[in-house]
Symmetry: C2
Subunit: 472 residues, 2 copies
């Protein structure tokens, strides 16, 4: 909870401006350093309280080149969209400051106030809880989030409406709320009090105090240096490596049977995906040469390329590394995309990044919960997540590597890195075991396909997709 | 015009695959090198011809990790959107290959076939011309564009419809055309013949030939090494430096008069911008300390931050440098943004990039036309572009630099780079003169504000905005 500074002292505007600019430059300089962070400022409040004026004043005090303002009119929730999807693109990179006018809270309020079938208190509070969890994940990933509510009493609001310039009426109306209705005002206040206890509340009776309180709060946030945790607290409890990872089945599916089953299944899968009202995300992980590409090929066999998108995940770009590691996935999964297929996924955080040390212990140990929340948010917004681990034996991998090296159009698939990864086979098994134990949830269960026979794996993948689609 | 290879020879699929993969890797390796390029493949054609199948086969022959497929259902034109806006984000970066199913041509066909008030032949042909000019700009900026039309005779189409799997009907219907109507088929064919003379036309009677012709065409394109022009052809004709740049007015606006005028004008500008049905882009260029920031502040004075977005343009990021230099501006200007204000702009190409040598002579000399086309496309899609050059004298700049250095909250604005730029004052004057001469168009005229008095400049900027808004 943010301490409410009831006795805020006015600073000399010149000094305040210099302090803000210095803090901005320090933030900018932190880029890539251990204490790097970015600042996300969520702004909401009562109409005519003066949010816009305060942000404009802030822009004049700071160096405006390093302050971005994103301002959208609030929108009601779309049931196929998580609350963060419209905004994820604008999460600031290390060193940046972003003010967001339209944000998940204004959307929530708009939804609660406007839709014909409003969301009830339980749902409202569940949203709040998810939003706070999301913000905590942002903070853990070096995005400092602060929230500011611009408040105005009923009486003052009415007075301001009386004196409003006719030229401004147009914009004012855009919001769709009737600010002359005491009932609407009261219910909005009641709703926002369900979430503003960790917000900076600004009483907007007086302009100068309003702008100063806002700017001083930003200044404190800019100056606050996060201590990024480096060391994990307790001992890590390694999961037992399940049998499915250690000894994949050696049974071979006869070729004719495979052909028949594949034909039927790929048709069924295409139809089931096509007619399902939800969006579907299919995620593939597995050792190199485990058959991810081959499985994907069979999923899309009877689909038209316009019906799906395939994402092949490689190492992140520099601009992606300056944001939370899930950021690039937040932005890839789009509400308008019916079927998204991932060849490698966000689980890289707890696999390759853990093993190669790209993520420190605190980071990868925290990631399981972050990933679970991410998948839960997708699930809650009508997006089914179907996850596969393709398990093969170490011998089978070697055989496939060698076969690839001998096949002209496949030898490109084998690089030195693949052989190097193979050297860490046991580390991967441990990481996979932890991953399966900690992220196998009701809403996004793992399918472990454990077989050294490619064709069996493909058939099992298709069957698992059908099963999960039908299960719900 | 692409030569039609009537006697295409089938290649051994294994060899074709290896050749494609090798070409992909060569393309990938070209990144950052003199012959770097990316490849954009636009795909359209008759329903059921097998575009999807051919792309799927291509995906199996190449290394799918380095081929992206973007497939959207065609959409009718939105009159506030340029034809490239929905796709600009997906223009591939150096080293990448992108297949686009939904593209500006499919949108054009859909618009021509579907809307109640269809576009006439003249408009249709004008669109084609703009599209080709846009593609030429892409090519000049290292994006190789190829276009492939998958064709199918009326008879074969009907046969395929007869034998279509009922499960596929759903997708087929999404297209909205009645493929059983000979009239619709014929008018589509007639329309597409207006633009497909520089396309690769694939007759899709036979599957194997279809897939091979497509893949072989891609292979030729991948292998084609562009010769990026380095040297300009003729002598550059330097424009005469206009008086307005050399001797800005010294008249000073009395403070009281300024206050009165500013108050009235900022209100009028806010209202005019707000009630105009078009989107507005306001672009500021000027020497350092010319007053760009101050002018912007006065434009937004009576606006709410939710009504506009301000973009401060700095040096491009590495991922932006791997795309055409206008790319980052294509993506910043959004149809849903009413007012976009730029503090520095795309004119950087013919100013700082020309002067510092970041763009070679061919590149910056070509840029004037590219920029004109860009602004024309915006104009044609209901977006008014208002451009300012703020001219001050060299002495006035020095005075402002010194004043900034003495004002605590302004001294951050002055860096060594500013003094260095000042050293190239005359080079800048020449570049500005060329820019004004070559990009002062009917649809996007320049406003040269030539005064050493800050307040006069601000008033003139506001007046110019009002005038251009009312002129049309």
């Amino acid at each position: 909870m943010v301490a409410q500074d009831n006795e805020m002292k006015l600073m000399d505007p010149e000094q305040l401006s210099v302090a803000l600019i210095e803090a901005q430059y320090a933030l900018k300089e932190s880029k890539g350093k251990p204490n790097a962070k970015s600042v996300l400022i969520l702004v909401s409040g009562i109409e005519l309280a003066g949010k816009g004026e305060a942000v404009k004043q802030l822009r004049e005090w700071v160096d405006p080149r390093y302050l971005r303002v994103k301002a959208d009119a609030p929108q009601t929730f779309n049931h196929k969209q998580t609350f963060w999807q419209p905004y994820a693109r604008f999460i600031p990179a290390e060193g940046q400051v972003m003010v967001m006018f339209g944000n998940w809270y204004s959307d929530l309020l708009t939804t609660a106030m406007h839709v014909s079938k409003p969301i009830d208190e339980t749902m409202f509070d569940e949203y709040i809880e998810s939003m706070r969890a999301y913000e905590q994940d942002l903070k853990n990933n070096n995005v400092d989030v602060i929230k500011v509510w611009f408040d105005l009493s009923w009486k003052s609001l009415q007075k301001r409406l009386d004196h409003m310039d006719p030229g401004e009426v147009h914009w004012h109306k855009l919001h769709g709320l009737d600010w002359r209705s005491k009932k609407q005002y009261d219910s909005l206040q009641k709703l926002r009090q369900r979430f503003t206890d960790d917000w900076e509340i600004i009483d907007c009776e007086k302009e100068i105090e309003r702008d100063q309180q806002f700017a001083q709060h930003i200044l404190r946030t800019l100056k606050h240096c996060p201590d990024h945790l480096k060391k994990a607290k307790g001992q890590w409890k390694q999961a037992k490596i399940p049998e499915s990872l250690l000894s994949p089945s050696e049974d071979v599916l006869p070729k004719n049977q495979y052909k028949d089953e594949l034909k039927q299944l790929s048709k069924k899968v295409a139809e089931a995906l096509r007619f399902d009202t939800r969006n579907v995300v299919i995620a593939f992980e597995g050792m190199d040469a485990a058959g991810k590409g081959g499985s994907i090929k069979r999923i899309v066999k009877k689909l038209d390329p316009r019906e799906y998108e395939i994402y092949t995940i490689a190492a992140p770009e520099p601009y992606e590394l300056r944001r939370p590691y899930l950021w690039r996935f937040w932005n890839k999964i789009q509400p308008e995309e019916k079927i998204s297929i991932f060849d490698r996924t966000w689980y890289g955080r707890v696999l390759v990044e853990r093993i190669e040390g790209f993520a420190n212990a605190v980071e990868w140990q925290r990631a399981y919960e972050e990933i679970n929340r991410f998948e839960k948010d997708l699930y809650d917004s009508q997006t089914l997540v179907i996850k596969f681990w393709l398990a093969i034996s170490k011998d089978e991998q070697e055989a496939r590597f060698k076969a690839r090296e001998e096949t002209p159009h496949k030898r490109f698939k084998i690089t030195e890195e693949d052989w190097r990864n193979r050297g860490r086979w046991d580390d991967y098994l441990k990481a996979v075991a932890d991953m399966l134990q900690r992220t196998d949830t009701d809403y996004a269960p793992w399918h472990v396909i454990s077989t050294n026979d490619k064709n069996t794996a493909r058939v099992q993948v298709l069957e698992a997709i059908l099963k999960q689609l039908k299960a719900e």
